[in-house]
């Protein structure tokens, strides 16, 4: 094995990093200098311009103009040379391969928020006020720090397949064999392979739900809990009659965030199956169409559709937030 790793070859990158950091401090210095020089008045239009300008320019270049352009591109053909009207959209809703993508995304969006919330809620309740609560929560929370790519590899290892006569190296197939079954190639059989990918997402996100819901449970006024207990409520009754109604807003936050995150999901599918075997989802298909097949029109149409799907969820969330604020 050749271990002559050449650190000298890495130097230009570190120089680039240094340039970036120096540029950062120069930027801060310049901003503060400008701020100190601008005359103080009650109406601070000049200061606002200095402070907001850089952020607004970047938002314009990085999000607003590209968003508009993508919308336009979705009405054009693959290399953006002619207008094609709604052709890309009719492709999306009629062609079998595109419909599979939409069906998979629908399964993801229905299953992930449900499982994440349910598991997070049950776990938060059962570890609440136990001696090992913080350790128990940390264990479930840890996957949140792991990249989707890393998690994809962890779970591919769990799903790993060896022929029946060989020793299994994947935990899942080992368990199947232990109980007398035959090992399966879990990621190759549609439509169940999508469920095996969903497991990975749930595994990553359950910690988020646990933390948010656990904080909400701790916020339930103790008088309510005491009153219910004195009335002789069983733990199960407590859970459904007291806990759930009291933390409803937090549950909604979790469900909404999970819906949005799941709609945009890309990394897990790309790492584990690459979207093959009928597992592709909108974000993955959008990447393939735009950056691999050169079909910018179709890719843009998928991106716009994603945007349209997210809007109602966010409006619902904003209305919900406003109601909470008024109730306070």
């Amino acid at each position: 094995m050749d271990l002559n790793f050449d650190f000298a070859a890495e130097q230009p990158k570190l120089v680039q990093l240094l340039i970036g950091v120096v540029a950062f401090f120069a930027f801060i210095g310049l901003m503060l200098l400008l701020l100190d020089r601008a005359p103080m008045r009650q109406r601070a239009r000049l200061h606002a311009l200095i402070l907001l300008g850089p952020a607004l320019i970047l938002l314009g270049i990085g999000l607003i103009i590209p968003g508009i352009r993508t919308t336009l591109l979705s009405f054009m053909n693959g290399d953006s040379s002619t207008w094609v009207g709604f052709e890309n959209y009719s492709w999306m809703f009629t062609q079998p391969e595109a419909l599979t993508v939409l069906r998979n995304t629908l399964i993801w969006v229905l299953v992930v928020p449900l499982l994440v919330t349910a598991i997070g809620l049950v776990y938060a309740v059962v570890v609440d006020n136990t001696r090992f609560e913080s350790l128990a929560k940390s264990l479930v929370f840890l996957p949140m720090a792991i990249s989707f790519v890393g998690a994809g590899i962890i779970w591919r290892f769990v799903y790993a397949y060896r022929p029946e006569e060989a020793d299994q190296i994947g935990l899942l197939n080992q368990i199947v064999v232990f109980f007398g079954g035959t090992p399966q190639q879990w990621l190759l059989e549609p439509p169940v392979n999508t469920l095996f990918l969903i497991v990975v997402m749930v595994w990553i996100q359950a910690g988020f739900a646990t933390v948010v819901l656990s904080a909400a449970i701790k916020g339930i006024p103790s008088e309510i809990v005491e009153a219910a207990r004195l009335d002789g409520a069983s733990p199960i009754q407590m859970f459904f009659r007291v806990t759930i109604p009291a933390i409803r807003p937090a549950v909604i936050v979790v469900v909404v965030t999970q819906c949005i995150g799941t709609l945009k999901l890309f990394d897990i599918v790309r790492t584990m199956t690459g979207g093959q075997f009928d597992t592709s989802v909108i974000a993955n298909e959008m990447y393939n169409q735009s950056f691999r097949y050169g079909e910018t029109g179709k890719g843009s149409a998928l991106a716009v559709f994603l945007f349209v799907l997210v809007i109602p969820i966010v409006i619902y969330q904003i209305r919900n937030l406003r109601q909470q604020r008024e109730a306070r």
Binding site: L32, S147, A215
Partner: protein, 319 residues
């Protein structure tokens, strides 16, 4: 270590009076601890399996499950050596990609934190026309999926801006290490909506009398920001910083498009995704490589979990 999760009786609750209720209580708490243990095991075992495997010799990883380690313990560091430092292109060359990840991540955290701080200060404490509309606009931009921005932003970098054949901005034509600039740029743009929202939440909660008093004393906005606001919102900056760090370090999509796939500029996530695709059964490299990429965010996360949780509860989840 998780097998000891048992609920302790609450000291504040009155002791169960009748024998039946005591039995029932113990039964449900037994079920509760069983559920807790099962979930905790399910959530830790996959990572533990990968971790253990990354230290096992290649032929053992490929032929036996990691649980056989307990009957036949053999450990080696060879996987890590090979995946990090070997120069043959079939192995990981992870050291290069690790450096790329660092070079990408550090400025991609610094710039959004600074820009969002400035913007959030203006939106919370300056008085100017259109302030609320600008804030609502930035808030609403959280909705735009970054998929919407990828194609046009890439062409902005590679072709510049042309309006009716007139070149307004030339192409950036970044080559070699300068390519990192476009990755920093993209990450900064995409982080701003959630960053401004989060920091505005914290900053607008500060007592207005504090800022008013400083202004009466003749302090400039630069001074107020530096001396008064910044020390008070430092925890909020920390939580946004950690979010952004984890997001950038773990990102695959933005890196794939703006950093490319070569050891010159691609981060570890891109390399791991490549290895999982082309060398999906080279488990000795995949396990070690994955663990190298996991260990950095895990360390940051564990040491600063408090700030992370606080940001999470304040709505700092990026869509």
């Amino acid at each position: 270590m998780t097998a000891t999760v048992t609920p302790t009786p609450q000291t504040s609750s009155p002791p169960p009076s009748t024998p039946q209720s005591r039995v029932r209580k113990r039964l449900t708490s037994r079920w509760a601890s069983l559920i807790a243990i099962v979930i905790a095991l399910l959530w830790t075992t996959p990572t533990f399996g990968l971790f253990l495997s990354s230290f096992r010799p290649e032929d053992q990883i490929k032929q036996t499950g990691w649980w056989t380690f307990f009957s036949d313990p053999v450990l080696t560091l060879e996987n890590y050596q090979s995946v990090l430092f070997s120069t043959s292109s079939s192995s990981g060359q992870m050291a290069s990609f690790l450096i790329n990840s660092l070079v990408i991540t550090i400025p991609s955290v610094l710039f959004p934190v600074a820009l969002a701080t400035f913007a959030a200060y203006a939106l919370s404490w300056l008085d100017f026309r259109g302030r609320d509309w600008i804030y609502i606009g930035i808030f609403a931009l959280q909705v735009v999926p970054l998929q919407m921005a990828l194609v046009p932003l890439l062409s902005f970098f590679s072709q510049g801006v042309e309006i009716f054949g007139l070149t307004v901005l030339p192409a950036w034509d970044l080559e070699g290490p300068a390519k990192f600039i476009q990755v920093w740029f993209a990450h900064t743009c995409f982080a701003l909506p959630v960053g401004v929202f989060l920091l505005h939440n914290f900053m607008s909660e500060l007592p207005g009398s504090l800022i008013e008093a400083a202004r009466v004393d003749g302090a400039t906005h630069g001074k107020i920001l530096r001396r008064i606001v910044l020390p008070l919102v430092l925890p909020a900056l920390a939580s946004f910083g950690i979010f952004q760090f984890l997001w950038v370090w773990n990102d695959l999509l933005v890196a794939l498009i703006f950093a490319g796939g070569t050891p010159d500029s691609a981060p570890m996530t891109v390399r791991l995704a490549q290895m999982a695709g082309t060398r999906g059964n080279e488990w000795q490299r995949l396990t070690a490589g994955a663990f190298v990429s996991i260990i950095v965010p895990l360390a940051v996360f564990l040491s600063m979990q408090r700030y992370f949780v606080r940001g999470l509860l304040a709505g700092g989840i990026k869509g």
